[in-house]
Every structure is written in C-alpha cells, then in structure tokens.
C-alpha cells in the first residue's frame, strides 16, 4: 500500500499515466458519464458568471474612482473661498461650508433663510425645504446650491458634525466654564 499507492491524485491524461505499473489499462476515450457532463455543463456558465462579476466590479471601481476623485478633492468650498471665486462659480452648482450666524435664522414661506460665515466672509442664504433636525445657530453646515446674485440659493443642508462628543449632563464642568466666559464677555 505504502510502496505503491494508487495514483489517486494523478491526472489520467498526463503523459506518464500509462506507465504506472500494476494499474489496469484505462479507457481514455471521452465518456458521457455524469461526472464528465457535470464538469462540462457546470464549469462554463460558472466561469462566465465569475468573469462577468469581476468585469462589473472593475467597471464599478472605475466609475466610483472617477466620480469620487472629481468631486472628493473639492467636496466643498469654504464661504470665503466661494466669495473669492464668485465669478467662476456663477451658475454652477457647488457645496459651500460655513457656520450659521446666530440670530440670522428666519423661517420663510418655503424654507429658511440665514447667514453663513467662515474665514471672515459672510453670505446670506435662502434655503428651500425643511432644515435637518440638528440645524441651528453656530452649527457648521455644508450647503448645496448656487449663487443667485449676492445670495446663495440652497436646496440641501448637510450638518457637519465634528468628532467631539459630550455627555448630555447639565452639571458638567465644561458648560459651567462656557457660562463663566459668556458672563465675563457680556
């Protein structure tokens, strides 16, 4: 058994297949037994499917990379940059990032109007639609829309949340410090 194991892992079509001593002569003609048929009918569509899936993934990657790189590098302009490029951006749809100026938020017939500020520049905004839940004064927002004259017409407000998390605890020291600062300033 150990000296001359049956060549179970050997390919029957390999050149040395017939040289194996002791093994009965094999009928190497194609056959129509179920194993052969399974292999033929099963392999081809599976291969086509797999190659198709790979091609799809490659195409999807290309589309995503193209779209992504085009827009991701300038996902938004800050307010001051947008004001600087106002002439270039005229008529273009783009994203503008800034902080909502406290006290400027007013509800209008079809949405809300407010002023955003960033880097020393301010732009008044007319937004159509309901603002998101977290919208409010001092909140950093990314607006989608375009310049209409001096004003920015927005139809989507994205809230830009930073990576700071605070437990909603009314007694926390931080709040007390903020209050103290405001008291000192006012």
């Amino acid at each position: 058994m150990d000296v001359n194991p049956p060549p179970v892992s050997d390919d029957p079509e390999s050149p040395d297949a017939e040289e194996l001593g002791g093994a009965p002569p094999l009928d190497l003609s194609p056959r129509t037994a179920r194993h052969a048929e399974d292999a033929r009918s099963g392999r081809s569509p599976r291969a086509v499917l797999a190659v198709g899936a790979v091609v799809l993934v490659v195409i999807a990657l290309g589309v995503v990379l193209f779209n992504g790189l085009q827009s991701a590098s300038t996902f938004f302009y800050n307010v001051d940059e947008a004001v600087e490029r106002r002439d270039d951006l005229a008529g273009d749809r783009f994203r503008m990032q800034g902080n909502v100026v406290p006290g400027s938020v007013e509800t209008t017939d079809d949405g809300v109007s407010f002023v955003v500020r960033y880097g020393g520049a301010e732009v008044p905004v007319d937004h159509v639609g309901d603002p998101p839940e977290l919208f409010g004064p001092e909140i950093p927002v990314v607006l989608e829309g375009q310049f209409v004259g001096e004003r920015f017409a927005s139809d989507e407000i994205l809230i830009r949340h930073d990576n700071e998390y605070d437990e909603a605890n009314p007694e926390r020291i931080q709040q007390a410090e903020q209050d103290a600062q405001q008291g000192a300033a006012g």
Binding site: P5, P6, V8, S9, P12, A23, P24, P25, L26, D27, R31, A33, H35, R43, R46, A47, A50, V51, A53, V54, V57, V58, A60, L61, V64, L65, N67, G68, L69, S71, A72, S73, T74, F75, F76, Q97, P132, E133, L134, V142, E156, I157, L158, I159, R160, H161, D162, N163, E164, Y165, D166, E167, A168, N169
Partner: protein, 259 residues
C-alpha cells in the same frame, strides 16, 4: 490520501484520515462564542441604557458604539487577509490561503454592516444617507475591492492559481486601508474625524469611551469566533471536494477494469 499529509496545517491531520469532524466547533470556539454572546448583551445594556445621550447628537451617538467596532473588526480582517496572502506566496501552504479567504469573507460582512449603520447615522446627523465625500468614496472602493477578491476566488481553476491570484489581490487591496482611514485628515469631507484611533487623546470621555472600547473588544472576539468557524468550514470543504474527486477517479478506474 497523500494530499492531506502535505497540505495539513498541523501534524494532527494525519494522512489517510477518513473520518472528518462533523462540526467546526471546539472548546476554544465555544468559549469565544459564549464570550461574544455575553459581551453583546453587555454592549446592548451599556450602549442603549447606561450611557447618557450626547449633548448634540442625542440618541444617535449609540450607533457609533457599533459603527467604530464593526469597521475596526473589518480592518483587522483585511489585514489578516494581507498577512495570510504574503505567507501563502512565501510558504505555499493551503492553511494561509484559506485563512486569508475566510478572513476576507468575514471582513466584507463587517464592512457591509459598517456602511449600513453609517448610512443610518448619516441620514439622522448629516441629513442624507450618502454623499461622495472622501471617506465614503474610499470606503466604497475598499468594499468593492474585497468583493472582487471573493469573486476571483470563485473562478474555477487550480487551487494554486486561485491562491496566487487572490493573494496578489489580498496584498494590493490592503493599501487602501490607510488611505481610507486617513481620508478624513487628507481631504475635506462630511465625515467627522477619527473618534478613537490615531488620537492620543480620544474625543470621548467617561461611559461613552468605555462603551466604545467595550464594543471594540466584543466585536473583535466575535470576529475571532466567526473566523475560526469559517476557516474550519473552508478546510472541510476542500477535503470534501478532494474526496469526491477521489471517488470519481475510483469509479472511473472500476469502469476501466470492468470493460
């Protein structure tokens, strides 16, 4: 069964072993399984009840206790895939090939979960499910790359070709992890910056931070449990395929001697 002997990951699988284990579980996996079950229960209690809501985000922050752990487990999984791929090209052993493949599969699962719970978070916080901003774009590329890795492994070919091709992909794909991870620092986007990793001083405190670390631990244990099971399943699948090949050859041989 000479194949068994040379490809076996340890000496335990002796050549000629005909009785394959009927289960992929062992004492180690049972311990890991129970640990993750208890851990998940604790995470639910901490994440949903004990931690206070966030000052700005409110209840939404609870999604982060799962979002950060699932993406961390996915990154670990993809790094294991890369290590397994390198080791396969070096050692050419079935063990490393199957480990890389198993890890990639579970990584894709956790990554899909991350994208899903991240989209829920985005809808509530940003106001939209999706924007093609840098972190989300690189994330999509990463996800598609590993889907491609798994698809390539399904192409019928010899085990060696499959192992080689997928190992090359497994090594190339991991390059995107640092890009994805640093995307929030390198480009402007919507996604907030890193919450725990890469920050010397984490931007969380108290029970929030504890719950985040608890979630991380729990999901890593869960990942280890799934990985061991998946690897053993892959190993058994290979043995079953070998056996059916052996049987087919034996049958063929019987036909040949009969005629």
């Amino acid at each position: 069964m000479t194949i068994d002997g040379t490809l076996s990951p340890s000496g335990a699988d002796a050549p000629g072993r005909s009785t394959a284990p009927g289960s992929t579980s062992s004492r180690a996996t049972r311990v890991l399984g129970w640990t993750s079950l208890v851990g998940i229960a604790a995470l639910v209690v901490f994440g949903l009840w004990i931690t206070p809501p966030d000052a700005q985000l409110g209840e939404t922050i609870r999604i982060l206790y799962m979002h950060v752990p699932t993406v961390s487990a996915a990154y670990v999984a993809f790094i294991i895939t890369a290590v397994g791929s390198i080791a396969y090209l070096w050692k050419r052993s079935e063990f490393w090939d199957l480990l890389a493949a198993s890890s990639a599969e579970i990584g894709v699962l956790f990554f899909a979960l991350t994208i899903f719970n991240g989209m829920l978070w985005g809808r509530i916080t940003w106001g939209v499910f999706w924007r093609w901003e840098p972190r989300l774009t690189t994330t999509t590329v990463l996800f598609l790359t590993y889907l491609g890795y798994l698809a390539v492994r399904r192409i019928p070919t010899s085990a060696r070709t499959r192992g080689t091709v997928s190992a090359v992909i497994g090594i190339l794909a991991v390059v995107n992890i640092p890009i994805t991870h640093k995307a929030v620092d390198w480009w402007r986007g919507l996604h907030q910056e890193k919450t725990i990793f890469g920050t010397v001083d984490p931007e969380m405190q108290g029970t929030q931070l504890f719950t985040a670390y608890l979630g991380l631990t729990v999901f890593l244990v869960l990942f280890a449990w799934l990985l061991i099971h998946r690897f053993r399943l892959a190993w058994l699948t290979e043995r079953a395929q070998e056996r059916s090949l052996d049987e087919a050859i034996a049958e063929r041989r019987a036909e040949g001697s009969a005629s």
